[in-house]
Amino acid sequence: MDFWTDPYLFLVNWLHGLLVGWGLPDAIASFILMFAGAFVLAMGAMLFVLGLIWFERKLVGRFQDRFGPNRVGPWGIIQPLADMLKIFTKEHITPAGVDPLPYNLGPVLAVAAVLAIWAVLPFTISLVGADLDVSVLYVVAIGGLGEIAVVLSGWGSNNKYALLAAFRSVAQLLSYEVPLVIALLVPVMLSGSLSLNQIVREQGVWYIVLAPVAAFIFFIASIAEVGRSPFDLTEAESELVAGFNIEYSGLKFGMFYVADFLHAFTISLLFAVLFLGGWRGPYAEQYPLLGLVYFMLKAGAVYFINIWMRASFPRFRIDQMMGISWKLLTPLAIGAVILTAVIDKLLPGGELLPYGDYVRVGVMLGANLVLVVIAGALMALQKRKHMLQEFPIAASKGFTVRDVSVNRGTK
């Protein structure tokens, strides 16, 4: 093994040897290295956000027919750095009557919850912070901490708007966690493992091909989990001023800001891991660093779509938002899980048929399509029924829900 095939492992081994050479016990050397690794990963992630913010602002600018940041540095690339400096030097205003413990814990927890996910992401075949055998579960569990952060800051701020926004936000997060987790089960089932790295290894065929429905659900639910447009009800300015973080300023607000962008990208990384084959690509196993590049590219693509949606869609109403989760995504996800389980059992692939794997992929894809068609048909039926109930006259004249729903919003 030399530096060029796997620089990461090379570095680790070298450092470990160095520390042991200094006379440290093996356990303590490993501990120091782990600590250092965690530090580097966390710092890297935080700094990565700077680039991310620039990327997003630039992109959104383009979508909105503007230039985006273009003053500081070439193409405005230093802009986030300047913003960062500004936010660092701003005053921390602590409003009167806050509950200090939750108020101060909130932002820290928000960032920590996102960063903790990075600990188990397989960046390359060998570069995994902690290769847990239940890392999928870990990701879901840590997601819960983010919700607590929201609640804490909403409660601690001693502000009605913040509290209401926190309520709303947690309701949204909890609701969308359900389809998210159920959709997660599909890759878990296909790979037979709860380990993210194992899931990536098993993806000879990307799971987005095998399970497009689950991928779709995961994508939608993950946007909602991040709370970005079109699911950004938690910071609906017209209704809630600025969301649960209204009372924060300075670096504390900055932490929410960072957590937001980081979360969005993290969830894109997760999507890439679960459905797009993670670090997989040509020569990724020989040259792990190549895997990191593939991984980032895939995640970047997902993130791009994310931003694209953000720039294109208007915000949902709260009942629509809840409806999408409970009436569409959750049943669909359950259907997808059942379907996958049945097909996975019936067609284990490989030996059964001459082209077993192809058949399996084909059947999976077909079944997913059937599921989509059924869901669509049911929705159309539901709409029709709703229309007949609410607007019998308009329905009889051939109007559809879309025609009347424009006026419903103001009702």
């Binding site: 356990a27 509950d99 413990l101 939750p102 814990l105 847990l132 055998d133 239940v134 579960l137 870990y138 879901v140 569990a141 840590i142 997601g143 819960g144 901490l145 919700e147 607590i148 609640v151 804490l152 409660w155 509290l163 309520f167 947690v170 909890l174 966690e177 037979g192 709860l194």
Partner: protein
């Protein structure tokens, strides 16, 4: 004293301390936060017991779901419990005595229990997720208890919705 022992003492101290805080602080919100800390400590204990899966489930269910629920309930009912008045009822000394007595009894029981001196854990791979999952889904294993648990959850779900639902058209 090995590293594992140090870690154990550290974690259990934190767990027990925050448990004490849970039952003694006046602010419900803070009690809930301490509860989260305590539950996290329990999760770490699970890891030390080679039950990583359960540590994750602990975080997922207790911290992700149950404590959120509790915090919600605290927020929804915050007007009634003023933080100025004592949060312990009049019979709290009796409660303390009862709990303390139980602790003493348990300590003696553990002292006399021969298995409590065991220091070696079993093979870590015996309790992995796959084995557990197979045991849970095996008709000759625990399939029916498992199904019963799921029925219990559904029943709780429906029951809770029914209980907490606002009755339309006024109460009887």
């Amino acid at each position: 004293m090995s590293a594992a022992q140090v870690l154990f003492i550290l974690v259990s101290t934190v767990t027990l301390f925050s448990a004490v805080m849970v039952v003694s602080v006046r602010r419900m919100m803070h009690a809930a936060l301490w509860l989260i800390v305590s539950l996290l400590g329990v999760a770490v204990l699970f890891v030390l017991l080679q039950a990583g899966f359960f540590a994750m489930v602990q975080v997922l269910i207790y911290i992700g779901a149950i404590s959120i629920l509790i915090i919600f309930a605290v927020m929804l009912t915050r007007q009634v419990m003023s933080e100025k008045i004592p949060q312990l009822n009049r019979g709290w000394v009796a409660g303390l005595v009862a709990a303390g007595g139980l602790m003493i009894i348990l300590a003696f029981v553990f002292r006399d229990f021969p298995g409590s001196l065991a220091t070696t854990m079993g093979d870590p791979s015996a309790g992995d997720v796959v084995t557990l999952g197979k045991a849970l889904a095996d008709p000759n294993g625990f399939a029916i208890p498992f199904e019963l648990a799921s029925i219990l959850l559904v029943a709780a779900l429906i029951g809770t919705i029914y209980i907490a639902m606002e009755r339309k058209g006024g109460e009887q």
